[in-house]
């Protein structure tokens, strides 16, 4: 639970956690596994049988080990709250997660940096999902409106036979600042993965996203999807990759970049590599203004172009 020395820090963090869409009550619920990181300290933690959490302080941050025992079905999502309330500094968060055989777990992670003016957050997540295990990881970010937050988030996952993995990154409610996301997954036999990044960038925000599927096992399958809405003078470079290395593996990559504003610079690079002739890879990409038919459908109901755009984007970035 919350360390007594840090109750005020927790309160400050909690208000932004809620703004980012998190439910603070879950962070203090004894039936929910939770980990709360502020700066380079763990200020709160709760565990349940079958979930082992270890943490240690490192330079400018924390290292966390999470182990889900075999055969566990963790009913409530594990809540992670990572915050940094000072305007300047660096935070490093290293998370190693192992999901045991046939275990099922979901993570809800909220990263809040509401005051960042010159702040770097670096996160490296290494995940292993054992045979038949399932892991779903949803990472939602909430940054300052200053544009001075730099985030580097690297997600590496290894999936064993029949494992399932969902990794979703959302940064849609605040300014981005500078963002680099790299998701990489190695899929063994009959495992499946879904990678998704959704970002709404404004002013001079900069986004670089790479999603990579390595379909190494037969009958493995994966989807890597990116949606970026770029406005003002923002820029984005999206790379979606898939390697079809095994027979009957199937991969699909998709990138939708919607632009609004003359100063926007966006680009997407799809990379598909079929190494095994029985692998099947597909891709879809679109860059440009909002679909005119969608826009005019809502305008025909009386919405202005701005209102219609806002509603369409709201749906897409959910």
């Amino acid at each position: 639970m919350i360390e007594t020395n840090y109750s005020k820090e927790f309160e400050a963090l909690a208000q932004y956690y809620e703004k980012s869409g998190g439910d603070v009550s879950k962070l203090i619920d004894k039936k929910v596994v939770s980990i709360i990181v502020s700066g380079d300290k763990i200020i709160g933690r709760n565990t349940l049988p079958g979930v082992k959490v270890e943490a240690e302080q490192i330079e400018n941050g924390v290292k966390i080990f999470i182990d889900i025992a075999d055969g566990m079905n963790i009913e409530n999502p594990i809540h992670l709250c990572t915050g940094y309330l000072k305007p300047e500094g660096t935070q490093t968060v290293l998370i190693d997660t192992r999901v045991g055989k046939n275990s099922k777990v979901k993570f809800l992670s909220h990263c809040v940096f509401p005051n960042g003016k010159k702040f770097l957050h670096r996160m490296i997540s290494n995940v292993e999902v054992d045979e038949g295990g399932q892991l779903s990881y949803e990472d939602v970010h909430f940054h300052s409106e200053d544009g001075g937050v730099i985030v580097e988030a690297f997600y590496n996952a290894r999936l064993f036979k029949n494992a399932k993995y969902n990794n979703v990154f959302h940064l849609t409610k605040t300014r981005v600042g500078k963002l680099k996301v790299a998701m990489k997954v190695d899929l063994q036999e009959s495992s499946s993965a879904y990678l998704e990044s959704k970002v709404y960038e404004k002013k001079d925000d900069v986004v670089e996203i790479t999603e990579e599927l390595n379909l190494n096992g037969s009958f493995s399958s994966g989807i890597a999807k990116t949606i970026v809405f770029s406005t003002d003078n923002s820029s984005a470079k999206i790379i979606n990759k898939a390697y079809g290395n095994a027979p009957y593996s199937k991969g699909h990559i998709e990138c939708n970049e919607i632009v609004k504003g003359d100063g926007v610079k966006v680009g997407t690079i799809p990379e598909l590599y079929v190494i095994n002739e029985k692998a099947e890879l597909t891709h879809e990409a679109s860059i440009g203004r909002i679909n005119l038919k969608q826009l005019e459908t809502l305008m025909a109901k009386g919405l202005s172009e701005e209102e219609a755009t806002e509603l369409i984007i709201r749906g897409m970035l959910k």
Partner: protein, 243 residues
């Protein structure tokens, strides 16, 4: 209500609409009939003022006011709306958000559910998304529900029956009646006789022109006698239209 005066439209040097003149009066239902490719949907888009269809010549008058220069929103705010033959889909938007335009239109849940009921959708649909998870028919029903809630002064329905199973023709008729009873003027593009027969008047289009106009039965008889046996595909020989 709405008047078309000598409306022409060209695409790639080819004339698509060749001088349409028509009058649509308050509170009446008009059917637009004709084979595929004669310009019926193009006419619908011109009335709504879609961006790619604003380069026509001739005039559109709405209640005596020239509306050629008005964009889609401005026309919608006058009370004009359009139901596309294949309505757009929206990732992430729930049917409730769509019907209330993201909360801008205030409706009680009771009214939303009642309207969904009219178009044959259960209450569970309110939280479904208006994306590819809906079938073509379901998406069409959602669109019809949205028009019922909108209560437009003039609605152009481009084949409201397409994609909806034949058993639901009764439902479409009920919706059209309801819209009419609320005072809307309806322009209905259709290939289905039982839908057309609800109209007060009908226009028959061929090759970008109105070929015949009048009571529905007369226009349908004309279509059967002339168009069914016609050996041109929307390309009548010179003078044939005036025979």
């Amino acid at each position: 209500m709405l008047e078309l005066k000598d409306v022409h439209l060209k695409r790639n040097g080819k004339e698509i609409l060749k001088g349409l003149n028509a009058k649509f009066d308050d509170g009446r239902i008009y059917a637009i009939l004709g084979n595929n490719g004669v310009g019926k949907s193009t006419l619908a888009y011109i009335i709504m003022g879609l961006e790619s269809y604003r380069d026509h010549s001739g005039d559109l008058l709405f209640n005596g006011q020239r509306i050629n220069h008005l964009n889609v929103t401005e026309r919608a705010r006058l009370g004009i709306t359009l139901v596309w033959q294949e309505p757009a889909r929206f990732d992430g938007l729930t049917i409730k958000e769509y019907l209330t335009l993201g909360g801008r239109k205030k409706f009680e849940d009771v009214e939303l559910l009642e309207t969904l009921g009219i178009v044959g959708l259960s209450s569970e649909y309110l939280n479904r998304t208006v994306d590819n998870s809906l079938s073509g028919g379901e998406r069409k029903r959602v669109e019809l529900a949205s028009i019922l809630l909108l209560k437009p002064r003039l609605v152009v329905l481009d084949e409201p029956d397409s994609g909806i199973d034949i058993m639901s023709t009764q439902m479409i008729r009920k919706i059209l009646k309801k819209l009419k009873s609320k005072g809307s003027t309806l322009i209905v593009i259709t290939h289905r006789e039982e839908i057309a027969k609800m109209s007060d008047e009908a226009y028959l289009m061929c090759d970008g022109k109105f070929l015949e106009y009048g009571g529905v039965d007369g226009v349908i008889s004309f279509y059967r006698s002339r168009c069914d046996s016609c050996n041109h595909v929307n390309r009548p020989e010179e003078g044939e239209l005036n025979d």
